[in-house]
Subunit: 458 residues, 2 copies
Amino acid sequence: MFKLITISSIVAVAAIGSGLVIYRLHLVPEKPELDLQKWWGIGMKPREEDTSIRIFNIDFNDTMIQDLKQRLRNHRPFTKPLDGIQSEYGINTKYLDTILSYWLERYDFKKRAEHLNRYSHYKTRIQGLDIHFIRETPKVKDLKVLPLLLLHGWPSSSKEFDKIIPMLSSKRSNRDFVFEVIAADLPGFGFSEGTNKPGLNPVQIGIMMRNLMKRLGFDKFYVQGGDWGSQCATHMVTLFPDEILGFHTNMPFSSRLVSSVKMLMGSLVPSYAVDPRYVDRIYPLGNLLSSLIKESGYFHIQATKPDTIGVSLTDSPAGLAAYIIEKMGVVSNRDQVNTPHSGIENLPLDDVLDTITIVWANNCIVTSSRLYAEAFASPEVYIIHNIPTPVPTGVINFKYEVLYQPDWILKDKFPNLVSSNTLDIGGHFAALHTPQILVDDIFSATAAFINFNKRNLS
Amino acid sequence: MFKLITISSIVAVAAIGSGLVIYRLHLVPEKPELDLQKWWGIGMKPREEDTSIRIFNIDFNDTMIQDLKQRLRNHRPFTKPLDGIQSEYGINTKYLDTILSYWLERYDFKKRAEHLNRYSHYKTRIQGLDIHFIRETPKVKDLKVLPLLLLHGWPSSSKEFDKIIPMLSSKRSNRDFVFEVIAADLPGFGFSEGTNKPGLNPVQIGIMMRNLMKRLGFDKFYVQGGDWGSQCATHMVTLFPDEILGFHTNMPFSSRLVSSVKMLMGSLVPSYAVDPRYVDRIYPLGNLLSSLIKESGYFHIQATKPDTIGVSLTDSPAGLAAYIIEKMGVVSNRDQVNTPHSGIENLPLDDVLDTITIVWANNCIVTSSRLYAEAFASPEVYIIHNIPTPVPTGVINFKYEVLYQPDWILKDKFPNLVSSNTLDIGGHFAALHTPQILVDDIFSATAAFINFNKRNLS
C-alpha cells in the first residue's frame, strides 16, 4: 500500500514536473523592440540619408592583381604534409601549391570580372553602409514575376549565386512564375561595406536586408539563404512575417531551446526521432559532436578572435586561399578529408577562386569573420531565435550539410513547413555544387508557398 | 515499513554504486609497452646512429632578416579595431602596428642573436631528429651540481629560459647546490628539427627528452616545465620514475579521470574544495569554461587543422606576430583584454620578439602547432595520464596560469607533492614574467626533493 502510494506520488510529481518543463520550453518570448534604422556607418547618422541606387561594376584592378601575384610568387615554402597524411591535419600543402599555381598563372582575373559583370550590379547606402547587390529582372511575358532575395554566407558573396540567377529568372514549362533576383552581399562581405561599430549581428543584418528590399520597392518578397544567409533570413521571417511571402533554405535550423532538448532526447530512440535513412546525420550525437569539433576550429577562432586571425589572412593570399579552400572542401564532402583535395574538387575551381579573389580584393576577411563573434554577443539573437515564424517555409537538406534536423523539430521554429526535401548528395555550397537541384527545389517550394498563402490570406 | 525498506535499499544500492564508481576511477592502468628508440627521422632507422654532440650557434642571417623586413614593410593595411574595442575581438591592430614598427626598425637581430649565444648551444641527433639545447655548467666549488632539464611550451623554445639560466647556475647563500641547466627545444620547436611522421605526441617527446639526457650522461636528473613542457615532463616522471629525482612545474595538472570528477563535484561546495582565496580560479565552473572557450580558439584550430592555419602564419610575419602576441598577452594577464596591449606589456618586448623571430626564422609554426593535434590522437597519452607518479613534485601556481587545481586534486597524479606555492601575481610565461620568483621556487622545491629522496631512498 505504502509502496503504491510512493510510486503514484513519484509518477505524479514526475508528470507535473515534465509538464512544467515542456510548458516552459514552449514559452514564446515577446519580440524585442528593435531600432529598424540603426546607424552602422562612420560617425553620426546624418539628417538626410543618401538613398540613391548606383550602378556598380566589378573591377579586379591591375595594382591589386600585380600585388597579389607578387605575394603568391614570393610565398614562403610550406611545411609538407606528414607521411601518409592527406588532409587530416588541414590543407594538403602539396595540393595547395597546384591551386596557387593555377591562381597565379591560369586564373584569368579580367575575364572572371567580366563574367561576374554579366549581371546588373548596384550599390546603395543602407543605414550608413554601402550595400552591393545584383538585380536581375527577367524579360518574360504573361508570367508572374516574384521578387526573391538571395542571401549567402561565409566566406561567400552574391557571387555564390552566379550559376542559379539565370535559372531562377528563366521561364519553366510547368510554372506560371519566374523570379526577379536580388542577390545582396551581406555588410562586411564581398563588395558591401563593413561596419566600424560592434553589434552588427545576424538579426541586425536581417533588418538591413529588409530595408534594402524596401529601398528597391519590394514591400513583399521571398527570401532564400544558406549558412549565415539562412540565419539572417530566419530572423527576417521572425521579425517581418507580413512582408515575407515564403522562405526557402538549404541550411534550415531551429535554434529554439525546445528543439535542442528534442535532439538530445532523440538520441534515446534515434530511429523513431529521424527517418532511418538519415539517422546518421545526427545520431549517435557523439559522432556528430566529434565531427563538429574536428571541423569548427575556424568557427571558434572567428567567434572569439576574428581580429587576430584576420591579420595573417589579410597579409597572405596563399594563407587566405588555404584557409578558405580547406573549409569549402570539407563542408562539400566531409568523407573526403582523407584525399589531397579534401572535397574542394566538388566545386568548380574558378568559382572557388572567384570567392577567394573577392575576399582578397575587398580585404574583407576580418569584417566577414567578425559576424561569428557578433552572432553570440547579444541577447536579442537568442530571443528572436526562440520565436516561431508563421511564414511558409521550404527546406532542402543536402547530404553533407553541416547541420540536420528532421521536419518535426524544424517545425518548432517553422510551423508552416510546407516543403521539405532530403537528398543523398550535395553539400553546403549548394548553389555552386548542385545548382540545378537547388533551383528546382526553390521553384517547387515557391509553388507551395503560393498555395499556402492563397489558402491562408483569402 | 515498506517505505523504510525501500529507502534503505536505495541507500545501499547508491552506496555500492558510488563505491564501484570511486573504485573504478582510482584504477591505475598498466604502463603500455613503448618503443624507447622509435625513429622520427626521414626514411628508415640507420644501422648506426650519429651520436655526436655538435656546437651550435644561433644566427639570424641577412637573407632571412631582409626578407622578413621586406614582408613587414609590405604588409597590407590591417582592419582597424571596432569603435570602443581594445582587444576584445583579438589583437588590437593599431597597437600591433607599433610593435611591428619596433620589430622592423629597432629590434636588433644581430645583437639579440649574440645575446642568445652567451650560453653554450649544441645539437645532437635523438631518434632521427636534430635536437637543439643549451647546456650551462656552473663554475662553482664545494657545491653539489644538480642536472636540471628545462622544458618549454608553445610557441617558445629554450629561449624562454634565457633569464633564469644564470640564476639557476649561480650560488645562493642558503643552498648547498646549484644547477647544471640543460634547456632543450622540443622537436619541431625553435632550432630543433620537426618530424615528418604522425604520432610525435607529448609522451613520445618525453621519451626523446629522456634519451637526450642519457646522451649527455645524466642517468638521474631533475626536470622543470611549463605548458607543453610540463605535459612532456609529467609523462617522463610517469614513465621513468627511477631516473628523475624531482619534478617542478609552473603548470601542474592532473589529467586523471578521478581528478576531473573531483573538480566537477567541487562545484557543489567550492569553498570546501579550494582554499577560499583561490576559489575563483576554478569556480563557478561556468566562468572558467567561458573564459577557456574565449581563449582557446587557437588551441582548437591547432588541434584539428594545424596545417591550414600554418600556411598564412608561415607566409606573413605580421600575422605570425599578431597570432603569438595575442596569446602570450592574454595568458600573462587575462584581466587586461580590454586594454590595447591585452597583457603583452607584462613581458619584455625584446623577449617576445626573440620568440617570434625564432619561430619565423626556423619556419616552425606548423611543426610546433601539430603537437596540439598529436596530444589528442593517441590512446597512450590518456593511459599514461591516468598513472600516478612516485617522483617528488613541486608546483607553483601563478595567478593568471590557464589551469589551476588545488593540491588535494593534484595528488591524484602526484602523490608525493612535497612543495606547493600559490601566488597572487604572475602568469603563464613565468620564466619571462617573474623569473626571480620562479627560480626561488625551483630552489626551494629542489631542497624538498632532496629531503624526500634522502628519507625514501635511504
